[in-house]
Symmetry: C2
Subunit: 273 residues, 2 copies
């Protein structure tokens, strides 16, 4: 079995690095992402946003961690052109070993495109939205936003007591509308969006602070909600930055204390850079 | 529409807190998790591991972020006994608005149990494994493990250049077998497991270092691989701790410098506590 050759995992981008009152244009290194389509016995099993290294290992480890396979003996073949296609043997050699129930010997589940279609569905509709990059209508004050980011940091009670959650907050200008925490950064994002929908607060033009990293799937959420500004305490990926640029979403990362990196559309800030 | 009352989000556990040469038993506060089953028009759409607050918001925000709904007008009803059941209108009032393609007017996707079954499938097989907690055969040296944790921290090249990845390493005693990084903590875990499988390295008895948080889905992965020791730089959830205790997996969190918290099965360490 061949190991898949490592693809490029790093990308270079031009950013504006803010530190206190200074702003410098510089080149920065960001991590790249890859969408691995994992096919099982010819059918799309799942799609995973991942780093483009060791994709065969990811495919095999994922199937193992999900209980689909119990050992390599259950894998008949792995092909990996662009996606990752795995064939598993219907009757695994070790299926008579420790785990002998019928349920265990049979394939772990009916594999449908459910999981993959989920993403594909979102992407199909996304393509529509993507034809209309967000206009640079309202401008934002970077100074005010960084002040909000500092307050945000000290706001998370759950984090302060447990260290185990992500937080997200939705703002209208300087006003914080919703602040939500969750063990998942996607969940925290979805909760502030859901809160706005349930309380009939229009999303377009609002902006968002998140404690979590920003891969492209977070920018997709921003596109759906027409949020022109995403500010993160943590790192974006190259693909997230490219998507933000294409959609004219202003993306800031590593926003901590008096520092931030502006990865896209700095024109949306009032301040001259 | 009623907002779901907040459930308890914090739990108390007894831990052993290590700092340098000292070990103290104390009570600690950890975050709780909840598995939200989201039903769409009567069929299981997805299951999400989340913090047990604002579950309606999570359901609505998730459907919006995935492009399933475009506004609250598309939601006919939300019921939430234990799971979260959403009914969406087939012909949304605003479906004639901006997005008028047939694909947009129809429900976003064929909703199957694919995503939910994924987890259910894993859980069904897990129940089998769970009948056999891991024996406390081999003992580990906490001193050696914390030394490995310090080395692990400085090992991540991708993290050091981008700040945007999680890392995982699999060890046999003091020997590091595989070190993998990914934008997803689950992916990094799956990659070390996949690496071991692909290189025919037996998993039982090995132990794992992770940079990421440890909810119960990470412990499930450890149960499948029969790993007796999981050491994290970050926080576990209450449910992860309970599962680790039940399975006799030793779980350490907040392992940084000369500090760590032991959440379960300290007997696996050679050192007297």
């Amino acid at each position: 079995m061949k190991t898949h050759a490592d693809q490029d995992v790093l990308g270079k981008v031009n950013i504006i690095r803010i530190k206190g009152e200074t702003a410098h244009s510089e080149e920065d290194i960001v991590v790249r992402e890859h969408t691995l389509s994992l096919y099982l016995d010819g059918r799309l099993y799942t799609q995973m946003l991942c780093t483009p290294q060791h994709l065969q290992e990811l495919a095999v480890g994922h199937l193992y961690s999900e209980g689909v396979i119990r050992s390599m003996r259950e894998i008949a073949a792995i092909n990996q052109p662009h996606a990752c296609a795995v064939e598993i043997t219907r009757h695994a050699p070790d299926s008579k070993a420790v785990h002998t129930s019928d349920a265990a010997a049979a394939p772990a589940r009916t594999v449908t495109t459910g999981c993959g279609a989920q993403k594909s569905g979102a992407y199909a509709q996304l393509a529509e939205r993507m034809q209309q990059p967000l206009p640079i209508a309202e401008k934002f004050s970077l100074r005010d936003i960084m002040e909000q980011a500092r307050a945000f940091q000290s706001q998370s009670e759950l984090f302060q007591s447990t260290g185990g959650v992500h937080a997200c907050a939705l703002f209208e200008g300087q006003e914080e509308l919703f602040f939500r925490e969750d063990i998942g950064r996607h969940n925290a994002f979805d909760k502030v969006i859901g809160a706005a929908l349930l309380q009939n607060v229009a999303l377009p033009g609002k902006w968002l602070l998140t404690s979590g990293r920003v891969p492209s799937d977070m920018i997709i959420k921003a596109v759906y909600a027409a949020l022109p500004l995403i500010v993160s305490r943590s790192a974006p990926t190259l693909e997230a930055i490219e998507m933000a640029q294409a959609q004219q979403i202003t993306l800031c990362g590593f926003t901590r204390g008096d520092r931030t990196n502006i990865y896209s559309v700095p024109e949306r800030f009032e301040e001259r850079m």
